[in-house]
Amino acid sequence: MLSGILNSLAALMPAAEAGGDLLHPPKGAMLMLAVPVLTLVGVLACTICAVARVRTKLPAWISVACLAGAFGCVLATFLGYEGPRHAVGFEWIHLQWGGETPRGGGQVPIRALHANFGLYVDTLTLLWMLFVTGLATLIALYASEYMAGDVRTAGYSRFFVAFNLFVFSMSCLVMADNLLLLYLGWEGVGLCSYLLIGYFYKKPSAVAAAKKAFIVNRIGDLGLALGIMLIFVKFGTVEYATLLADSKFQGFLAAATAGDFASIPWDIQLIPALLMIGAFGKSAQFPLYVWLPDAMEGPTPVSALIHAATMVTAGVFLIARTFWVFQVSEYALPIVAWIGAITALLAATIGMAQFDIKRIMAYSTVSQLGYMFAGLGVMTSVGAAFHVFTHAFFKALLFLACGAVMHGFAGQLDLRKLSGVQKMPGWRIVGVTMLVGCLNLAGFPLLAGFWSKDMILAQAFAEPGYSAVGWVLLLTAGLTAYYTFRVYFRVFVGPQHFEPGDEVHGHDDAHGHGDHGHAHAEPAHDGHGHGDHAGHAHGSGGGQHGFHPHPPGWAINLVLVVLAIGAFAIIPLNFIGEHAGHGGWAADMVHHSTAGPLPAGAGHAAEGHGGGHAEHGTFLGMDPHKVMYYVSGVVGIVGIGIAFVLHLAGRTEAARSRADGLLPALGPIPGWAQHKWYVDEFYDFLIRTPLWVAAHLFHLVDKLIVDGLVNLFGFIPRALGKAIRPSQSGVLHGYALAMAGGVAFLLLIVLMAAL
């Protein structure tokens, strides 16, 4: 039926419009189109595996192959990059109206809502796609081993279906040539996140976390959707190219550049505010960050890819992509900066007080995303993008390392119950790579994380009016270094000690996702292979009795090593290209995209490195761009030092450290931080409970009042009937009386009405 419509309408379809002068003929378009196509092939192939009940690792290899192919395509495009490209797959939504001639004369102009399934590829896209597809390939490889416990069930295929679908959605999000397709990807990644967080669907906590993620994201999505609508209404297009080239928009931009915000209508200024809400939701910014820590219920590869490296940076991407739009508003970027700073600090404080290492990493992700937003807010889209790029590597690395620990210790994630892991046989690679990741995250000098973080910090001080943001970020940098190394010092070094995890509670490799009855039948002392330590669940109360942590296999180790090398390999990128030392390659990439400086930007502080600012903030009277290297390096090292003192040197026994002794001195604050400042409870109280009450109330209202009224209307005739039924007494005289009375009454009222 559908194909019928398609064929019949083929003639109707106007040729896909080529819009904007940013476009080149779609040379190499096929290469970029291959990215979503390849991932879709992955989705379909894995679905077929699920349907055909394939119970091997085939889905994983298919996925790795598809994703690697996609990465190859992106790489090839990157290497052959000549300028922005536009590739139209097909016409997705094309709604046209107007054009008729009204009776009064004249002609109504033709308007259209036009959203192609089209790709817009510029350097920003490529930057994102490179690490998205690259990391996805690596993590798929990692997951092939990590998820091996589920090979015997349909879950394995299911995992990779969702995994591939995620990369597909992400590529739509990043490569879209219009906001609507971006929205498709935006919600698509949300769906995949939902499916993957809820992968262990038997765990109520996982289901709840998945739900929470989706719903909180939807709040943001609504903002984004409204923003898109507002853009469409004001500019008549949702395509970036057309929008940015729009003369009216250019006018607003010029006004904004000149500082004349008063001449820009409020609704134009509202656009970034709406888009921002979307970005906050997806990138887990305050106040919508609450879903991300819970999202750690998903399998670790998912946490690494989606909830650390790629999906959560979509908000940064959105703002970077529409960076010019954000500049037409007086308040948009300051809000972004402050929200970023607040999020960074808040998450860091919570992260300090957590004991679950995966959760600490989650809060650190939130915190680092806050950095990125602050970077965007202080006008260094380069810094933000650069930080996204480096963060993707080291945070994925950290997660994967944590995942390896979790995998090996039956789900144990509590840093009080693990110690000295690095020295255990087979865990050296994990420990070393973890150290690389931690150093990056802590901003240890000269590492990738250091350079990118430093750019944001420096710009925060350099940008007038934002030094408070800068101080907050600086403080956060110190806290970050501390909690990062708190993890490292407690888990990976120190005396060897461990307690295996409780499968039921934490371990995501738990058996029996599929069928009952055989999971517990396996011998407990196998020691090799994967997915066979289920029996330990019985001994969870008995400490180490009968439990042997099994070190990661080749796939996990390989991925960890590759990522660690990658984290070093990207350092030199900072020192090549036109912006060497200030983002380097990444800066070049951003500069040549829509996130770059304003086309008409005369002297506007769009970038954080030029010296030509009319006014320039300082860091304690010094040029922040020069001193910040040292300051941030020192802060990082101090943080690491404190962690060393409290958690390694001062650790008296495996489970306790000097920090625990310090806690009472701080009063209730650590408790509050441990309880995440009660934000979840606050939301529960402020939003969920009222809604829940309202829902019940509405239900009652519906039953009693709305339906009650209906029933009442149904009841009225019956009641009326009952009321006048006595008149039908069956007695002749009664009838006669009623008739006579009725006639008299009727005539009386008629006559009275007449007189």
Binding site: R725, Q728, S729, G730, V731, L732, H733, A736, L737, A740, L747, L751
Partner: protein, 115 residues
């Protein structure tokens, strides 16, 4: 109703018997018949009350006939009497039938169907 009629045809001041008087008698008869019909229980009396109402109409017709100086009303009365006679025959037959069944002439005997 009476009030209206009185207004329309004010009785003449002195002894002359006017249309108004006839109509008053007619209306009174009609009312008496109606009240009797409603208040009495005996079926025969009730029927007689309807006859009274018929004849009230008859009086009015004759009075109007006189008033309009044509004979239509009188003609009408003849027919009314005929119909009244027919009804009377039916009434008596019915009453006999009913009496056979219930041994009573009270209208209240017949109230099995109601509601």
């Amino acid at each position: 109703m009476m009030h209206l009629l009185a207004q329309a045809n004010p009785p003449a001041p002195m002894h002359a018997v006017t249309l108004g008087h006839y109509l008053f008698v007619s209306a009174a008869m009609f009312a008496i018949g109606l009240i009797g019909f409603v208040s009495r229980r005996n079926l025969i009396i009730m029927f007689l009350c309807t006859e009274l109402m018929f004849q009230a109409a008859g009086i009015a017709l004759i009075a109007f006939s006189r008033f309009h100086l044509n004979h239509t009303g009188e003609t009408f009365v003849i027919f009314v009497l005929t119909v009244a006679a027919a009804e009377a025959a039916m009434a008596l037959a019915l009453v006999v039938l009913l009496f056979r069944r219930r041994e009573s002439l009270s209208g209240e005997e017949w109230a099995s169907m109601k509601g």
